[in-house]
Symmetry: C2
Subunit: 152 residues, 2 copies
């Protein structure tokens, strides 16, 4: 399960992608429009800002706007920013690899092999699907994805 926070982040980014380019949306508007607790959303937007996904303007008539084009913000980036690694095992994580302390041999670990097969298509989808895709209502078709070889 992804966290509620991650879901909120995706919804907020989608909302920001929908506003007129050049304009900004205020936290309150997004919060009420998406039914997200306002002060909670503030923190989420702040994290997205620190990651360089959105920009903000303070003060009267301030608000948030996307910093990068929606087509360059992937679901994977958002999930990694909010929830951390996408991988089901530490030893399969790209952004936070860690050896399983209790694993005898990573290369022969059968559990790892199974989850390597699991995470592969997941990454394919999450890294190729962007906020723009979500806004446009075109989720990537899994059948169109090239099949890649097993990870090393």
């Amino acid at each position: 399960m992804i966290s509620r926070q991650a879901k909120y982040a995706l919804r907020a980014l989608i909302a920001l992608a929908r506003i007129k380019p050049g304009s900004a949306a205020q936290t309150s508007d997004i919060a009420s429009g998406e039914k997200i607790p306002k002060k909670f959303l503030e923190q989420i937007l702040l994290r997205l800002k620190n990651q360089g996904m959105v920009q903000s303007r303070r003060g009267n008539r301030g608000g948030y706007a996307l910093l990068k084009p929606a087509s360059e913000i992937t679901f994977a980036q958002v999930l990694r920013t909010i929830d951390g690694p996408i991988a089901p095992l530490p030893c399969l994580s790209i952004i936070a690899y860690a050896r399983c302390e209790d694993c005898k041999d990573e290369h022969t670990c059968e559990i790892r092999k199974v989850f390597a097969r699991v995470i592969e298509p997941t990454r394919q989808v999450l890294e190729r699907t962007t906020i723009a895709d979500a806004v446009a209502g075109r989720a990537i078709n899994i059948e169109a994805l090239p099949v890649t070889k097993q990870m090393a």
Copy 2:
């Protein structure tokens, strides 16, 4: 990330699948062999027993053994027993479906659509891979999986 408990459960089941049929393995042996805290493993085996995956004998020379053939215990079953739903969103769960309270319309939710694509191949692998596969060292090849249509 799957929980450590789930990883322990999988390893314990694999260990049980390796012992001589008809015999039993004791918690202590599995615990030391797999580097799992013994009392923690006890609880895990108990849960697996209550789910009908393993059987136990108490008292002197007691222990655990698989109740079902290893080829009939899937990774998905184990994960669901220990960690709960496999789905990334409540609204995509088979075993614990729940509407997202803050979702306007489930059928047009773009986030849901994306994660529906994500969970599909994951389920394919986890529901087809068994403890026997892991023991035999043959993880299912993702390329061999039939591609299915999008979920409704």
